[in-house]
């Protein structure tokens, strides 16, 4: 989903050279990529630059952006506890989700690469299929399960079993957002993990087992370290996607667990404060790009260390 995963999956293939003359080949290559690159420059790069730029401007009563360049929007964001709290909540939800996804993802990824082909197919299907279902529909499913009244599935089950006497308040909380995000982005952890685990030389683990290492130590000393690149990619993906989400916190968090995405929406569609909305968007982009850069550095470092 991001550059990190692209790098891990698409090795360089300079060996595959079809055309002999480098000069014409270079031109053909550039020509083929040109339409896509132009499209991305016009509709992604330039608008993104403009958006970031407007975070450093102010807006007059008619909504026209004007200078001088100022940091006041950023100061306002970090100084107002209402807003900086949303930043903290966003980071906390994203970290929790990515961490839990790693915990849930390892067993699934191991089963995916080391089982009977039929089990592998079923697990792969169940893991990926919900990804193709709209986030709106999936969050709605969690609303039904976590519903606060006695008619929510979980409350109904616990009440009927006599475990609780009054319904729990599960929906519209950070926990609900973490559960929903985990459900939405789990495949983004499982797939990179499975691909890293699939590349581990089976003889290494066999040798360790033959030499008497218990299974948990084999996992700790061999499987885990060798699958770290997959874990890094998965963690980055789940963290960035959760940090940038809108639907899940809006449907499961309500006003109790607002994230940066909800704040951007509020500033732009309800308050029409473009500069401030742009400021929050820039903070979000900075977080996501920062996490991706760190992860890329880690992966590159490992690649260089390898013989």
């Amino acid at each position: 989903m991001t550059a990190t995963i692209a790098q891990s999956n698409l090795p360089r293939v300079n060996a595959f050279r079809l055309v002999r003359k480098p000069s014409t080949a270079t031109l053909t290559g550039l020509g083929l990529a040109l339409p896509a690159v132009c499209f991305l420059v016009v509709f992604l790069m330039l608008p993104a630059v403009r958006l970031i730029e407007s975070g450093f401007l102010t807006q007059d009563a008619r909504g026209v952006l004007k200078g001088p360049v100022t940091l006041s929007n950023y100061l306002h964001f970090f100084d107002t506890s209402l807003y900086s709290h949303v930043l903290v909540v966003t980071l906390r939800i994203s970290l929790m989700t990515a961490g839990l996804a790693a915990v849930l993802g390892y067993p699934v990824a191991l089963v995916m690469v080391r089982s009977h082909p039929v089990i592998t197919r079923v697990v792969t299907f169940i893991t990926i299929a919900p990804l193709i279902v709209s986030v709106v529909v999936r969050s709605y499913g969690w609303q039904l399960i976590l519903g606060n009244g006695p008619a929510g599935l979980l409350n109904w089950l616990l009440l009927s079993a006599g475990v609780i006497q009054t319904p729990l308040r599960l929906l519209y909380s950070e926990t609900a957002v973490v559960i929903g995000s985990l459900h939405v982005f789990l495949p983004m952890m499982v797939l990179p993990l499975a691909s890293a685990l699939g590349k581990i030389e089976p003889h290494l683990e066999e040798a360790a087992r033959t030499l008497g290492m218990p299974a948990w130590r084999v996992f700790h000393r061999i499987t885990l370290p060798l699958s770290l690149p997959g874990l890094a990619v998965g963690f980055t993906l789940v963290f960035s996607l959760t940090a940038g989400s809108f639907v899940t916190p809006a449907m499961l968090g309500g006003t109790n667990a607002q994230m940066l995405g909800n704040l951007i929406d509020q500033q732009i569609t309800a308050i029409y404060d473009w500069p401030f909305g742009a400021t929050i968007a820039t903070v979000l982009v900075a977080i996501v790009i920062g996490v991706n850069l760190i992860s890329m550095r880690l992966l590159d470092g490992r690649r260089r260390e390898a013989p």
């Binding site: 698409l10 792969t124 009244g149 299974a215 991706n292």
Partner: protein, 267 residues
């Protein structure tokens, strides 16, 4: 061939995976169960059995309009993504170019930006340009978010295709165009088709771009459901959602048949 799980690790990992699979399927099952309940409120336990909600949904003018619009938008966006993405993938996988890494980064950049932020940036751009056609604006936004998926799948398929076949064809005197049409494309076709289906669903399911660019006349499916969930006067939400789930699962089965799911997603 990877070693199979056995002994203690199997006893631990299979049950854990089973629990996670139940977690993954639970919200979908719950929606399906609610869609056939006679109770007009989505409340547990479901009562009775009825397909009446489906009849209501399928007869609903808003549902039909949204479904048609979303399908058309996704089809056009996928076509656009293929037009931009196919040649770019050839450049990435086969072209002898400088700055391949930079090119890859540019082509996949829409995946790094939070989708929501892409939507805001486009809204700003279109309002500066006075571009008021919601369908056109949505199409541009959706091409933007689907193109990287096509690039990723097609590039992966190209890297898996056997280059020696292409070289053999060239040695035997086939022109470059003929090699492409008769040797390369047949090899990558299943991967491309599966990737295109995935791109179609990415557009069909998209909310965070559409929420900025849609207007009252053009409401994509996810936005319709989002609005219906927020309003208590639409008891047919579980039925509408179930139809979305069934459609998605049908597409996933097709993707699996065509190229295998992990190849279709290039992950």
């Amino acid at each position: 061939m990877n070693p199979r799980l056995s002994g203690g690790s199997a006893w631990l990992l299979y049950p854990l995976t089973a629990v996670t699979m139940i977690f993954v399927l639970a919200p979908l099952f719950v929606i399906v169960a609610m869609s056939i309940s006679e109770n007009p409120f989505a409340a547990f336990p479901p009562r009775g059995f009825t397909l009446a909600w489906y009849g209501r949904v399928l007869a609903d003018a808003d549902f039909r309009a949204s479904l048609g619009f979303s399908a058309l938008l996704a089809a056009c966006a996928t076509t656009g993504a293929l037009l931009f993405g196919l040649p770019a993938s050839f450049a990435l996988a086969r072209g002898e170019i400088v700055g391949r890494d930079a090119l890859r980064l540019i082509l996949l950049s829409p995946l790094i930006f939070p989708v929501l932020v892409i939507g805001v940036a486009l809204l700003r751009l279109f309002s500066d340009w006075n571009s008021n056609s919601a369908p056109l604006n949505l199409l541009i936004g959706h091409i933007l978010v689907t193109t990287p998926y096509v690039v990723r799948t097609v590039t992966a398929s190209l890297l898996l295709a056997d280059v020696s076949l292409e070289e053999a064809a060239r040695t035997l005197g086939a022109g470059r165009w003929r090699v492409l049409r008769r040797v390369t494309l047949p090899q990558i076709a299943p991967g491309v088709a599966a990737g295109a289906l995935f791109a179609f669903m990415v557009s069909f399911d998209n909310y965070p771009i559409s929420m900025w660019l849609a207007d009252a006349q053009n409401v994509p499916m996810p936005m319709l459901i989002y609005r219906q969930v927020a309003s208590i006067f639409t008891p047919a939400v579980p039925a509408t959602s179930t139809l979305m789930i069934l459609f998605a699962f049908a597409v996933v089965l097709l993707m699996e048949r065509l190229a295998g799911l992990r190849r279709a997603m290039a992950m």
